[in-house]
Symmetry: C4
Subunit: 279 residues, 4 copies
């Protein structure tokens, strides 16, 4: 178990080389959003772009494209039967809903994916039925449950999860060979080999609808830009919390911060961290 510190963040955050181009920072795809939760996709997409992804394609229901495109001008759209492995990384889940078609989509992606795959939110809801598929996957899978979702995935109660966060996370990550982000006051990141890091950033400003969608977008972006997944995930979680901490100290309160504010606060924090590196 390690505490993931600002020093870890700064030393493992990749630097951009002058001769890079948009392909250098990853082509990601995000399957998110539904008629009743269109904003979840908009938040995750905007977060991914603000976190440095090179190119982002969105797989969303046709009907909500205008909503998402009004929030994010930089993304592209794909639909129908696509080859999920054309992309460098995949994220699925935010706001996809608990319908049969969302479940079919999760199953389809899970079965096909040979690239790093992040499953979040309603994706975790459907994953419950497909846990065995995780065991034989050669490509990495990242799960981001909050305690309620973790309880559902494990069959435990929320209380049981909360009382033994480290070992339950460790056991699950090793059994299913996944990267597991168990959210909470101190979010725990666990690697498939059982390595764990605890995140020190964040505050109750994050206890609001949409902040999880933002984290998904950030992880997608970071997993395409880091050489290794473990620091990529730890850094996304760290940054997500660090932004909320900065906002509360600069012009916001824990009450008012929205998920959109978290996205808009990313530049300030990354800028400050970069300045720290130089000094």
């Amino acid at each position: 178990k390690q505490l993931w510190t600002k020093k870890d963040f700064i030393s493992s955050l990749p630097k951009r080389t002058p001769f890079s181009h948009k392909g250098s920072f990853g082509k990601g795809i995000l399957a998110a959003g539904s008629s009743n939760m269109p904003g979840a996709c908009a938040l995750a997409a905007k977060a991914a772009l603000t976190s440095g992804i090179g190119l982002l394609s969105l797989y969303v229901p046709e009907s909500i494209k205008p909503i998402i495109a009004s929030h994010v001008a930089e993304a592209m759209y794909v639909s129908g039967d696509i080859d999920w492995n054309m992309y460098d990384g995949i994220a699925i889940g935010p706001g996809i809903g608990r319908t049969a078609s969302a479940e079919a989509l999760l199953h389809d992606v899970l079965a096909q994916a040979e690239k790093p795959l992040l499953i979040d939110a309603d994706g975790l809801y459907h994953l419950k039925h497909y846990l065995p598929l995780l065991k034989n996957k050669p490509s990495p899978v990242i799960l981001t449950p909050h305690p309620g979702e973790m309880a559902r995935l494990t069959g435990l109660s929320v209380k049981e999860v909360e009382n033994d966060r480290f070992s339950i996370a460790s056991q699950f990550a090793k059994e299913y060979q996944v990267y597991l982000i168990l959210k909470g006051k101190y979010t725990i990141v666990t690697a498939p080999d059982g390595m764990q890091a605890v995140n020190p950033t964040g505050n109750p400003a994050l206890a609001k609808g949409g902040t999880g969608d933002v984290l998904s977008g950030m992880i997608l972006a970071f997993m395409l830009q880091h050489h290794q997944l473990f620091p990529a995930i730890c850094n996304a979680v760290y940054l997500h919390g660090a932004v909320s901490d900065q906002l509360v100290s600069k012009g916001h309160s824990q009450m008012d911060v929205t998920a959109s504010d978290i996205i808009n606060g990313i530049p300030m924090v990354l800028h400050d961290f970069e300045s720290d590196t130089v000094c």
Copy 2:
């Protein structure tokens, strides 16, 4: 009668505990907006989220979902026959219109609700026909009339209302057992037992379309975060006015402030108040 002061605000505003999550701050539902007044819902929703609500679901006509979602990415949508008591609190009224279907919706919610229920704007218009339903409600109801709406509810003239604000408000609140917010230069909050507080904040910058919708959203959010309704309501009214006062002193005039500006000014004021608490 009491003057609700900054000290009252600061001492009664709930503090967030570190081990909270989005469920800790309430699951609210807002029925608002219509084809001709889509913005009313967007304003109330955004205000609720910026005022700390944990999760917000919107009950709106299908056709205006894209409009609202372009303003607020953090809300979810529900429709059809729903169980209004699945939520911790309900707000209805802003921009729902004066149609028969809006009236039916108000009636339906009023009849079913067993959770704190805020009725505003066009909701108050329709309420006129259902006043008797208020008397036997075990769960609290909050009404937010301006003098014109109060006149309609009571059958008095606007002048009569204005000439005797305190006692008319008190009488009505006690008779119908409601929390009553009688708007005006000095907004009066009255509890069902007749307790009254006068709000000292606010200025003519608030005399513009949409500011009432913003207040509705703020009350919804606060009623889910405070332990008691009376200070929750007083605090929302206080904050709403305090933001308009701050804006006018910082870069705005009474002429230019819009309802959206009020929402955007909430963080600054809450941040300043929080700093005051610490000092």
Copy 3:
């Protein structure tokens, strides 16, 4: 002929009294926008709200409501056969297009209106055919032509208009009994009695599509808040130019300023003017 100065602006800008409400600052209606020019309505509407109008209703084609509502949450919508005199003031023209239906709308409004009526942009295009209707109108009409539109209205060439701005404006205003705003480097405001004021503010940053729509919205708002039309119009023109001047001196250049920037700059300028008044 008078130069309209900052002193004139400050002394004639109405002050808000504490016991005002949204009705105190006017209920205006704006007929603007079309399928190919939806933004013109959004700009005029946002400008009117930022310039202090109490309540704003928009008369627009159904198909573009979502576009406008994504820009402006504070406006309401009306359609069909309406009573234009239900409002305290009317503006028509920005982006309505040069179609037969737009012409019919202009004619309809012109024939019915008994409240102050502003005609701008494509409204002026159609007005060419209805000039005689202006002569017998008991309620005031305001026209806002740029030199090209003035040429069309008078049958002169643009050059002829430009060579004799003061007397052509004066003659036209007196003949048709209108308030005339002849745009240009020094915009001239002429009253029906021939009184003229020259505006000293503004710069080439305003030479961009959409800035005229913003001015229309500002005039509509000001004509509902001032006791007299002449200073209302002069103040709107003055403020419009003053904002562009301030923007160029604070973080912008003449090249980059957009019509939206003008709207967003209104608060800063009004705030500064208000501070000046106090000192």
Copy 4:
């Protein structure tokens, strides 16, 4: 070969004369966007307006007009069979897609255009089949390939292009009589006579989807405001990179900058350059 410096930028950037109007700064048309890439058009349009274009018309699929109009209120829309030469300049390509109808549009514009014509992105993809049409065009054509697109246009590999950027650009520009912007760490602008300038600004913050669309909009605006095309293009490229450099030094990092941020940063940089001129 020349290095395009800040001094070149400042001395060749046109100054606005007081007696200008929106027609003075060009009427441009932009054909961009498609169902799967609506944002590309929004970004290019907003960039053109922020870069000083006088009037901007957009030629886009009907279905995405609401998306674009929610981002840009200042543009107008045209459709169907239009006369491309009614405009002072034309840009085609960002986000038009690789469909047959997009190809037909490119061909149509290319065949008709007698005004300066910028071809970018998917426009370059389709241009591959129509290269011979370039040779006999009396009006100027501007191409903006990144190395991958240059490779496709020339039939070379990306590596071959990268190993010999200057001479390949020069040869192509002279053969097809075009202005060629070969993107990269040091973007090279080549005139039809072989004159070349190297751009010193920019950093890896630009390596993200959408930044090319922004550049297209900037070039369209600048080519309508400069007397000569070569400095117009060099200035657009210079400004595009200079904004990214400023952002990274002021509150952003190379990771977080989005294409929208580039647009929003234009005013700051132009303002600073204008201040430099004065000093």
